[in-house]
Symmetry: C2
Subunit: 155 residues, 2 copies
């Protein structure tokens, strides 16, 4: 088990693109969901797949269990999804000792761009790049789980 400790923000503008590493294309879907927990399947670049269980109501810290699974299983799970299949491209953007992940959504969520920064502890205080917009940590409607079930919220 790992602890997922992260903060999440909307993104304003394209300033991050010049610092971004090559992106990975993710397809991900939710297979079982409850209020405070979910099981997600994610296919990266059409090649590898992982199944992830996340549990926890906290805005910043959640328990996370992640396993590599066969691609064929992931494709079969996606057919059983609750909600839509999320398509997004994830770019890694290093900034002042932290790696930001900028998710550019496609498909039904096109136009949405969200940045997350993964921290080692809740006490970390990453510097915020100037392309960072409003913080949405803990706003569940901006979680991928709720985006898959309810669609894009107003910013």
């Amino acid at each position: 088990m790992a602890k997922e400790i992260e903060r999440k923000f909307l993104v304003s503008g394209d300033g991050w693109r010049s610092e971004a590493e090559t992106g990975s294309v993710f397809q991900q879907a939710y297979i079982v969901t409850m209020d405070d927990r979910s099981v997600r399947v994610r296919i990266a670049d059409g090649k590898s797949a992982r199944m992830t269980l996340k549990v926890g109501k906290s805005a910043v810290v959640r328990d996370e269990f992640e396993y590599e699974i066969p691609l064929s299983d992931a494709l079969a799970m996606i057919d059983l999804a609750v909600g839509i299949v999320i398509e997004k491209t994830r770019y890694r953007v290093p900034f002042h000792g932290f790696v930001w992940e900028v998710d550019v959504y496609d498909g039904a969520l096109q136009g949405l761009v969200i940045a997350e920064v993964e921290m080692r502890s809740e006490d970390d205080r990453p510097d915020l790049p100037d392309w960072i917009g409003r913080e949405v940590s803990g706003e569940r409607r901006f979680s991928n789980q709720y985006l898959a079930l309810d669609g894009r919220p107003p910013d």
Copy 2:
């Protein structure tokens, strides 16, 4: 992905014990549940652990995805369970070309004994041993998911 094709029965009497192979002790708990699907973790004989996703409303056939996971992950998941932790001993009982699994429940469900027969196809017609009682295939209250959430139903 596998198809789980099985029928389930109550058990009357101890006639199965003379034919039973050595039992395995299972601890299992449900981590995420919805009406027609669940993720379960199971620890066998305190040693090995599996995480299983089952999806489907059918009485007899369900989609099943199962993965070996680290024992430490399973123990952490059990702490996050919804409902009780089910304790049972499973005995394999061969009968006329099929293997029956007889689950003898312990703990909060002590006294409950359920037999399942796994089939290769829905057309299989396994002979029923004479210690088999009422069929409960498709009675959700006798599924482990509902036993964990709601406790033991009246027979």
